[in-house]
């Protein structure tokens, strides 16, 4: 024991030993320290009005963490809050599945079929710069139900990301892999199935991970614009975006922050899920 103490650098870190025992993982420890520090700054800044006399700019107008926590605790028992979660989650899932189910084959067709690429890619590139949110009014006109028009806008958000990633992945495939497969007698179908598909899988993974973040951005904005217009209230199917907007309109400022953090969690966990699923699907990457 004295050996360890003698070898340790003399920086007086002995006070952190309890923290090391409590949370052995360095990354987790650092993350917790950072989050705690951020909460502290936020608390002090948000309550600056009472201890400084005048509130600090920007942060002084924000609801304090303790007020947010109180509001959140109250909301946890409110079925309307959970209904917002479910609504947004369903829309994201639907839009994201559609984006993957249509985007992945579309990207593969673009990359492996030059006639199709020549015809479809210019249209794709013309439509791509249009932000998904610019589609909201048109989408409301096109689609019979509000739900479908929101899902369509979400779909667009994920679609471009997935297609572009697949295209990039397919173009980056080493042509020598295909040459050597051909020289071993592989048919076009075998090359597609055994080479191109697994070859673009990692890029599809990156695309899905990015796309799921984009879909959360889009769903919230789409709900803010259109979520309440069908007469939905915060306690019905408006989703988290409408929940935030409604909290703003109703002056329940801590609830705005609750809504924002909820989306943060949702995005974090869905990205992590996509990453985990891709890790399972591409074992050759994990082991190297």
């Amino acid at each position: 024991m004295s050996d360890i103490a003698a070898n340790a650098p003399a920086t007086g870190r002995s006070n952190s030993i309890w923290a090391r025992r409590l949370i052995p993982d360095l990354a987790t420890r650092r993350a917790l320290i950072a989050i705690t520090a951020a909460l502290l700054v936020w608390q002090v800044g948000a309550t600056s009005g009472s201890w400084l006399g005048t509130p600090l700019p920007i942060i002084g107008a924000a609801p304090a963490p303790d007020a947010v926590l109180t509001a959140w605790t109250k909301l946890l028992g409110d079925p309307g809050y959970w209904q917002s979660w479910v609504s947004s989650l369903l829309r994201v899932t639907l839009g994201f599945i559609a984006a993957t189910a249509i985007g992945a084959p579309f990207g593969l067709a673009l990359s492996s079929w030059s006639i199709f690429r020549g015809l479809a890619f210019p249209v794709f590139e013309l439509l791509r710069p249009i932000p998904p949110l610019a589609w909201v009014p048109a989408s409301i006109i096109f689609w019979p139900t509000q739900e479908l028009s929101i899902a369509f806008v979400i779909f667009l958000g994920g679609f471009y990301t997935i297609v572009l990633n697949i295209l990039g992945g397919a173009d980056a495939l080493d042509p020598r892999l295909i040459q050597s497969a051909r020289s071993m007698g592989a048919s076009r179908w075998t090359i597609f199935r055994r080479l191109i598909l697994p070859g673009v899988l990692p890029s599809l993974g990156v695309g899905m991970e990015t796309a799921i973040g984009v879909t959360w951005e889009v769903v919230v904005a789409a709900e803010m614009i259109s979520g309440g217009s069908s007469g939905a209230s915060a306690s019905s199917g408006g989703g988290l975006g409408f929940f935030i907007w409604n909290s703003y309109v109703g002056g329940a400022y801590p609830n705005i922050v609750v809504g924002m953090i909820s989306i943060g969690f949702a995005g974090y966990f869905s990205s992590a899920l996509a990453r985990w699923a891709m890790g399972r699907a591409t074992p050759w990457l994990k082991r190297t």
Binding site: A181, R194, R287
Partner: protein, 288 residues
């Protein structure tokens, strides 16, 4: 020389006479930024079955163009290439059909990263439907064991050193029972020690199979140590400048490197190649 060849080409007691390549008057040019570049010019070379033929020459001289023409990766503008009397390309057929009788092993390797080593090795016979899956895997295990690759069957290529990867790739090539192995600087990226291990392993494989080897390299020691003949190419356009018979008896071991005859040959070939390298350098050829 012929006697020596015949002696080393004993495949289980019977003399194999597969893999004789005739390159007759081959011409090939390609476009580079609008200008036509003559890569190969009236190149003729006769490679008897079961020979290890080493091709050396300055960077970018057109050696790889020749290899690609034999493999069928691109066509030729004139002349002909035959394999065992069968015309691969020439006489109205500009491009050879890609086939499993001529397998290429590339400089950086072309193993499929998403397949285990065993799946890589078994790939050819399975897609050709020449063997059943069970037979292919059995033969793959056998050949891997012979090449000292036991224990790496379930690993992915990315988990092996580049030396072992190259060995897996040569085993994968041999699984197709090719008449010719086309090696394009397969050991270029390896360190000297690994290289010497690879050389001895390649010779061992050769003594076992008697497969014809067309081997492009920049490394003169490698060329002399492995080859029955070393063909020094001119700088672009490419054609044989001089052919050196390597009269060091097979089977060879690394002791050959220290022999007087080896030193003499090295000096002679080096003088011949350097002359072309200087010409090529003056022309500003790119690496490749």
């Amino acid at each position: 020389m012929n006697a020596q060849l015949r002696q080393t080409v004993q495949r289980g007691g019977q003399t194999s006479l597969r893999g004789a390549i005739e390159i007759v008057d081959v011409v090939k040019s390609y476009d580079q930024g609008g200008a036509s570049v003559q890569a190969v010019d009236h190149c003729s070379l006769s490679i008897p079955a079961g020979e290890i033929c080493m091709i050396v020459g300055p960077s970018g001289c057109g050696k790889t163009t020749l290899l690609n023409a034999i493999a069928g990766f691109h066509g030729i503008d004139g002349g002909a290439i035959t394999l065992d009397g069968r015309t691969l390309c020439g006489q109205g057929r500009p491009k050879a059909e890609i086939g499993a009788d001529r397998i290429v092993v590339f400089q950086n390797g072309a193993l499929f990263p998403w397949k285990t080593n065993l799946d890589n090795v078994a790939f050819g016979p399975i897609v050709q439907k020449r063997l059943t899956k069970a037979e292919a895997y059995e033969k793959a295990r056998e050949l891997m064991a012979e090449a000292g690759l036991s224990g790496h069957e379930r690993a992915y290529p990315g988990e092996l050193s580049s030396g072992l990867q190259r060995r897996v790739e040569i085993v994968r090539a041999l699984m197709n029972d090719p008449a010719v192995l086309l090696l394009d600087e397969p050991y270029r990226a390896l360190d000297a020690l690994t290289k010497s291990v690879m050389h001895e392993a390649l010779l061992e494989t050769y003594y076992r199979t008697g497969v014809t080897i067309f081997f492009i390299t920049h490394d003169l020691e490698e060329a002399i140590f492995l080859g029955h003949r070393v063909v020094a190419m001119t700088s672009r356009p490419c054609r044989p400048k001089r052919i050196f018979e390597i009269d060091i008896p097979h089977p060879r071991s690394y002791d050959a490197l220290t022999s007087t005859r080896f030193r003499e040959l090295a000096a002679e070939i080096s003088a011949c190649v350097d002359e072309e390298a200087i010409k090529s350098f003056a022309l500003g050829e790119r690496e490749g």
